[in-house]
Amino acid sequence: MHNKTLVELSKALQKGEYSSVELTHHFLDRIKKYDVNINSFITVTDDEALTAAKAADQIIANGDAGLLTGIPLAHKDIFCTHGVKTSCGSKMLDNFIAPYNATVVEKCQAAGMVMLGKTNMDEFAMGSSNETSFYGPVKNPWDIETVPGGSSGGSAAAVAARLAPIATGTDTGGSIRQPAALCGITGLKPTYGRVSRYGMIAFASSLDQAGPMGRSAEDVAHLLNVMSGFDERDSTSLDVPSDDYTANLNDNLAGLKIGLPKEYFAEGLDANVGKALESAIKEFEQAGASLHEISLPNTHLAVPIYYIIAPAECSSNLSRFDGVRFGYRCENPTDLNDLYTRSRGEGFGAEVKRRIMIGAYALSAGYYDAYYLKAQQIRRLISQDFSEAFKQVDVILGPTSPTTAFKIGEKLDDPLTMYLSDIYTIAVNMAGLPAMSIPAGLVEQRPVGLQLIGNYLKEAQLLNVAHQYQQVTDWHKTVPQNFV
């Protein structure tokens, strides 16, 4: 059951080959058996899952089922789930039971999906290796000595290890795509505003975007159909109707113009990753697409300005964690200042504190113009790079990450090197564009991710391109050997 696509599972459920309860049990059993090795879940909600599965079976029996009714999924622990711990990977929220559902969670529930649990993540989504989680690092199912990427590393690992058929993630600078690449799965970051941010714990509000993480473009398209749409509770949500993201999957690629940014194939890209991409590019050529070298000249500025804008926003977004109303509170505070400094000092991990401090500095009087304002100006230049490029090509193709999965501990004490693992993904968030990562090879049994970047609201086109590639390759079907 755990290697079937969502469509196959759905058909089986509706034909009565097995029930949602059986399917749910199957995944819960796998989680029990395998997750001790990879630590991809923070919370497993057995009881709630089985109750939801029973309800789904009833809906199926009544003939009212939708395509995803009864299908299990895992939510990144950044989405508020009513009555269930929502930790955001932090000690700060270790005791936080959300009193409401995020819009994304609500929509999945309304579609009849069954939540298996909440997946591990870098603390407050700040990290590229899942090592900053209060709940310990997630391990990459392909090699448990290596990281799964981050921050949605739990979701990526769970899907790769077949502990969940599909999962949700969030992406602020690459947090869906980079772990998808490192774990050999398919992940999509939609256009900013396509999926509601309501109930998704904010890291950097102007960059955060939720999206689906699954094994194939087709699966991801089905979940995006459920997740996306306007939400009046999120003022930055786009009031534009969603597409049917499965409708164009089978369009052929003849005439498609693919841009290859020269800056993405330059120094810094691992040679073996580069080779894997070359063979992938040939597949696209064979499918009738044309290749065009393009330039995104401000690429090198994306990481530096990200580490101004994202920390600036997070320094403010995380002020609400003050030990007053919810979350961690230090013991026996002597006065208000002590309550603040110790609750926050003890509740947040090192990376979160580092970013809050960088952000507060960048926003402070006398520095604001030089840092924050300048970064916003450069952000516009980066957006312009893309709009120029999309005058020439339909989609942009490149690596998702400069390397395959690296060893746990390898970069943890070297934040600058760690930050560079997002060098190809960050610019997309700056511009608010949709992009995805699909598996495109293995280097020493570690997956390589290929990134596709689309123009605004062109998710359906990206999924079409990815799906066509997955029709002629098997990388997305390859299972890490210990999780077959």
């Binding site: 929220l93 109930g199 904010a202 003022s235 007053v324 109303r325 208000l336 603040y340 926003l363």
Partner: protein, 476 residues
Amino acid sequence: MAWEVVIGLEIHAQLATKSKIFSGASTAYGADPNTQACAVDLALPGVLPVLNEGVVEMAAKFGLAIGATVASRSVFARKNYFYPDLPKGYQISQFELPIVGKGQLNIEFDGEEKTIGITRAHLEEDAGKSLHEDFQGSTGIDLNRAGTPLLEIVSEPDMRSSKEAVAYMKKIHSLVRYLDICDGNMQEGSFRCDANVSVRPVGQEEFGTRAELKNLNSFRFVERAINLEVERQIDVIESGGKVVQETRLYDADKNETRSMRSKEEANDYRYFPDPDLLPLIIEPEFLEQVKAKLPELPDEKKQRFMQEYGLSLYDAAVLTSNRELAGFFEETVKLSGSDAKLCVNWVMGDLSALLNKENLDITESKVSAPQFAAMLHRISDNTISGKIAKTVFEAMWAGEGDADKIIEQKGLKQVTDSGAIEKLIDDVIANNPKQLEQYRAGKEKLFGFFVGQVMKISKGKANPAQLNELLKNKLS
């Protein structure tokens, strides 16, 4: 040395929306603590603000009313600081690009008009309330008020005395109630202000160093706090010291101001545009719609009252300071068909006196405008005298019915029959021979004595003009 006082005010007017500025929770006053604070107001993880459209219209109304530009694009910013009653750790406000730009307002002061500049007005959310008293050794937090919409109205430093500042504050108070955008209730904190106060030697152009007086929630406190602060600053300078830039708190119980924090201790608020809210765009069509809905404003009404009814600046200003009072006056004039001067005297005299005495608003008057007009009509048509009218008015106030009924029942109708008045005069003269003799001997002020006697036996009902005329003839 002679000193000049310089004052600018920052007025916080709570906008009269039913729900909060960024959430659906109720803004009603007086609920049990924390019963009107939803997930957004509590700043739970993951929640997002959504702007209440009502506040945009209200702010736009205000902008139009002070002749300001209403910005086609304004931006909400985060003002970051930690305080337990500030749940998000930042207040959503407007910083660089406020919704209302430069405008102005005329105040009436010492019988003259003066124009006060308004720098800007911006939208923001209120914080919650910290309750220090009822919790031994800790602080209670009530977040009912958190997220209540405020319009902060910032004036230019154009006022030169505490009385002028109060006149300006009263004018804004009147304006926001005219516009129906704020209930103006100062006890509940719906209308309060901070005052920036400095002094400089008369003739000096440069401003002195200012102190900011916080949270003045009554007109009386504004006047007192400013006076105290002016005295303090002059004392400091005259004894060789320097005024430091600081925030001071007015303590109404002790009637003193004391330092809260100096400029050095001031927070760095790390303002930046709130990424959860898009820039607020106002289309010209929207402004046209708002403009069409604007009521006649106090200054327009004041001018019209002066022209149409021949009122003095003072009378017109007082009557138009309150939209309902102005309405009562106009209705009275129209219905009574009487001289406007008579109406204004009665509205500002006896009616206002009774309202004040019983601490009632004009909307709570026990005599309605039509009833009031009917009584004034009886003065104009000589059915009763002004003096008798006071008796009638008091009876009406006591709920004894309409003017005509009271006049009838109490037999208060004025005697205008010359024969009847003459007869009364004859009686009085006959009964007071001594006084008649003295009067005729030249003691003319006894004329009043005869008038009084006639009035007494007529129980006040003799028509005063006729009585004077007839009495003069009789006595000569």
